[in-house]
């Protein structure tokens, strides 16, 4: 059996005295598209922040491609091949689209490959070629989300993590973002997707973890989740959002 690409074991994290994660464990295998679902405050973003090294976990371990990455610096973790498309897109507003993409390639820059990479990016996101020399801050929300994804891909990540890519976007734009994520997966990317929009996410992912109150409440294939969990209540954040019907 091959080792999972990413293994998170018993992760605990806090913001000051407030414990946000109470022992989260999850795995992502190469080539998979895995979702991390849950309502606001369930601990999804905290999990991603811990994996990327922005937040130092209190306890637990994170292993990526056989290397322990717990408590390492974010810039070191990126170099291992783990890129995050952060929540809220976090485009460098005063930098041009070109400069945003160039910084995305910071860890992987090779002159010849860079040109080819840009070409590929423009095929996926034609709008970015149009806006190439405009400041990122002048792009619309959807365009910024595309730029954020493109910027992360410039690093040639082995695992791409997306934090709420559909947040704040129009329904039409949300559609195209989900189509894009599916396409990236078909192109061979391994993706960990954090979403509040569980219904939409389950349409495209292989497996999913359902987080509630800082714990994994349910884990299984997308089909299992659709069948066994009242998705509407997860989506709208009901109290009994996640009955745990399958033992973990």
């Amino acid at each position: 059996m091959t080792m999972p690409m990413l293994t998170v074991e018993n992760l605990m994290a806090s913001y000051g005295v407030v414990r946000a994660l109470h022992g989260v464990s999850l795995e992502v295998n190469e080539g998979e598209l895995v979702a991390l679902l849950g309502v606001n405050g369930a601990g999804k973003s905290t999990t991603l922040k811990s994996i990327t090294g922005i937040l130092r976990p209190v306890k637990g371990s994170i292993t990526f491609l056989g290397t322990e990455i717990t408590n390492r610096k974010p810039e070191w973790i990126v170099k291992q091949g783990l890129s995050l498309v952060p929540e809220g897109r976090e485009i460098f507003g005063s930098l041009t689209v070109e400069e945003n993409l160039r910084l995305g390639a910071f860890v992987s820059y090779q002159r010849d490959r860079y040109k080819a990479d840009l070409k590929e990016i423009f095929e996926l996101f034609p709008i970015l070629e149009e806006r190439f020399s405009q400041p990122g801050g002048l792009l619309s929300g959807g365009e910024q989300q595309m730029l954020a994804i493109a910027r992360a891909m410039m690093a040639h990540p082995k695992l791409l993590m997306l934090d709420e890519p559909s947040l704040g976007l129009s329904p039409a734009m949300t559609d195209s973002i989900f189509v894009l994520i599916k396409r990236l997966r078909e192109m061979g990317s391994t993706i960990l997707l954090v979403e509040q929009n569980a219904e939409r996410a389950l349409e495209i992912v292989d497996r999913a973890y359902l987080l509630a109150n800082g714990e994994v409440d349910f884990a299984g294939s997308a089909e299992d989740l659709k069948r066994k969990v009242d998705i509407a209540s997860v989506y709208f954040g009901g109290d009994d959002a996640a009955p745990c019907e399958v033992p973990l």
């Binding site: 974010p74 507003g93 860890v107 792009l139």
Partner: protein, 297 residues
């Protein structure tokens, strides 16, 4: 009133103040720290000029390189030894640290050298005057204008055309996200301190050039000028700092000309009134920073 002499005086004073302000804003942009030890880099550069001339007997151009190098090294070392350990603490911790560094450096010089001023020799060209179209002006005024233009061009090339420059601009905008691109935090912060020290060193040559002496509190006045210039021009961009520097130079010279002789010694008080007005009516400064984050859609 607006004659060539006034113009050259204003441009040269503005150039010097722009360099001073720029060095302060580069560190502020990335670390959100108003580095109150910044004046000490200028002071150390002055002692660098003094020692390299009197002890090492270097030629004048080498004393200048030595002075600038001393400021760069001091700036970098204070970052390593003082600011880096408290970087993840509060903004208050950082600012208090900068006061500590300032007091430490001033007193180190006071104890190790002397509390009294030392004469700094600069090449004769600094004290000569030239006649341009009927206006008499010190040559150093023209030198500072030329130097500042060169520095501004090189710095904007660095910021726009190099990946380090892009990373520094990105870090000033969103620091954590910049690290998520794989840019080492230490790299951009050290670079900011090194460039800040470089600007302090270059400005120091011209600052010291006016009085031809250096003492342990030499740095206090240029620090204040840099701070006021950034308040007026805008803390959030290098452009703001440069604009603030020139505006400061202009206001100062206008006051010098328009105030009656009996009030000229209150010139600084008038300057502070203008600063207070800025803080009241345009606290973000002349140049607002950044773009609006996103449009709807």
């Amino acid at each position: 009133m607006i004659d060539l002499e006034f113009l050259i005086n204003t441009l040269s004073l503005g150039s010097l103040y722009a360099l001073l302000a720029l060095g302060l804003v580069l560190v502020y942009g990335i670390l959100k720290l108003v580095n109150f030890a910044y004046g000490e880099y200028i002071m150390i550069a002055g002692y660098g000029l003094y020692f390299s001339a009197t002890v090492l007997h270097l030629p004048w151009w080498a004393t200048m390189l030595f002075g600038v190098a001393a400021a760069v090294l001091t700036s970098y070392l204070t970052e390593l030894a003082a600011f880096r350990p408290v970087r993840n603490k509060s903004a208050n911790a950082l600012i208090v640290t900068s006061f500590a560094v300032s007091i430490f450096l001033q007193n180190a010089v006071l104890i190790l050298v002397s509390p009294r001023a030392r004469a700094v020799q600069l090449p004769p060209i600094f004290s000569q005057t030239v006649n341009i179209a009927g206006a008499t002006t010190p040559v150093r005024n023209l030198l500072i204008i030329g130097t500042t233009i060169t520095v501004l061009i090189l710095l904007s090339l660095l910021m726009k055309k190099t990946v380090l420059g892009m990373a520094m601009r990105a870090a000033a905008d969103k620091f954590t996200t910049t690290r998520l691109m794989g840019v080492p935090a230490n790299l951009v912060i050290s670079a900011a301190f090194i460039i800040s020290g470089l600007l302090a060193g270059i400005a120091s040559i011209f600052w010291i050039g006016r009085s031809a002496s250096v003492d342990p509190v030499t740095g206090a006045a240029p620090l204040l000028i840099a701070f006021i210039a950034t308040v007026m021009g805008g803390m959030h961009s290098p452009t703001g700092a440069v604009v603030g520097g020139f505006v400061y130079g202009l206001l100062f010279n206008v006051l010098s000309i328009t105030l009656p002789a009996s009030m000229i010694s209150y010139r600084d008080a008038f300057m502070f009134v203008i600063v207070v007005l800025f803080l009241l009516f345009r606290p973000e400064g002349i140049i607002k920073g950044g773009y609006t984050e996103e449009r709807v859609g």
